[in-house]
Subunit: 224 residues, 2 copies
DNA sequence: CCAGTTACGCTACGGGTCGTAGCGTAAGGC
DNA sequence: GCCTTACGCTACGACCCGTAGCGTAACTGG
């Protein structure tokens, strides 16, 4: 899934070097580790990859697109073993996300490209397709398992189910990212456990005798 | 609370123009709106503010610090009317955060400076003190109210309470940011309501007859 | 009122990155 | 072998950076 959206109209002629592709993406990650996002430069990546700078521009429009592709492949490693319970699965997802955010490449690149994407529609789509989708997979997978186990009800309305899945995804991914990058504190097993407990049981559940539960709770079971 | 940490050792001599300060920060926000983070330049801000470029560098070390200060003041607007219930308060906090993220200045700047902060300890502290702290205030305020109402138990151990507050803060702020900037979909009242319901009631509450609740749920009431 | 001290505006500069153009050459498809 | 495309290389104007140097402005303390 190369996705080098830069003009590749016809076929015939010398094909693009797949080896150069790999070298460039590898060099980009290395440069991210050494220099970080802001000091990463196209020239530096080119020389690390042993490639002319012009070759970079023939394939990627600029730094943003290049880095997205370079980091995206790391999200392919994400996989979720079936641990037998929803709680365990959520905890595992959290730790998987966290492990990726530990790596300096993703750490420095992810927020940067998201920031850039606020002014670039195409970049936003690229991120959504190559990074967010890979993350979301895990959440959908976990939900399906939980439904199969009977831990979560099966929502008949597909649209409602999709909206709830989006909500849960934003909560999980958002919380992990915020903890790791904004609060800049470790996402360890202890935190993951407390987060999972909060997500599954909520704040207001069995608070203490003598207090009324949240009034708006019309239908307490979150349909998924 | 100027925080221009750039050397101001003694007093006597011509004082720094407070008017210039205001003009610079205002110009910075305007430039963020027009150009976005990546294309914002110190020279542009200076000319917008009617100020020499050197004046900027006399007060701020660079783009990062300047933008943090320029955006931070927007977070002072955050205030939370007492709405009578925990659910309503949470919903209000969510919508307050969301409203700030609607603005193009904050939208483009926030993630960018966070990204930069991953490689800059001092910048991280600056963000924490001038932006994150202002957000966290609301969460702490909401918790205190809920405890006074009896909606949340009072945690006797101060450290545990602080950790739980941090958790909740990361969940709320993280979810909102992720929804608004990564998923790039609107944080409207509908979403806020569903999020609040999830946060208060959790996923696993009253799932459906015939299924066991999450096994690890040792003490279901989240102490806060 | 007069030093002393600091901020300001302006100009100019070396250094770096950007993104592109132009060229000769290398590597496949037919 | 011919056509087409990719590649490496060089060079370039444009822009931004961050700083130095200077003369001037503003405020403080004697």
């Amino acid at each position: 899934m190369p996705s080098h959206r830069l003009t590749r109209p016809t076929r015939s002629g010398r094909p693009r070097s797949a080896a150069a592709d790999a070298a460039i993406l590898e060099a980009t990650r290395a440069s991210l580790v050494d220099l970080g996002w802001s000091k990463l430069t196209m020239g530096d990546v080119a020389s690390r990859a042993g490639v002319a700078k012009t070759t970079l521009y023939r394939r990627w429009a600029g730094k943003n697109e290049l880095v997205v592709d370079a980091v995206a492949v790391l999200f392919d490693e994400l996989e979720l073993p079936d641990l037998g319970s929803l709680a365990a699965d959520v905890e595992a997802v959290v730790l998987q996300f966290a492990a990726l955010l530990e790596r300096p490449e993703t750490r420095t690149a992810l927020m940067a490209v998201v920031a850039e994407s606020t002014r670039d529609e195409a970049l936003r789509d690229r991120i959504r397709n190559s990074i967010v989708a890979r993350q979301k997979r895990l959440v959908l997978q976990g939900r399906e398992r939980a439904q199969r186990r009977g831990e979560l009800p099966v929502e008949p309305d597909g649209e409602v189910a999709a909206r709830t899945a989006d909500l849960i995804f934003d909560v999980i991914a958002g919380a992990v990212v915020h903890r790791a990058l904004v609060s800049a504190e470790p996402v360890d097993t202890d935190w993951a456990r407390r987060f999972t407990l909060l997500l599954l049981s909520g704040l207001g559940s069995a608070p203490r005798p003598g207090s009324a539960p949240a009034e708006r709770a019309q239908k307490p079971g979150g349909s998924v």
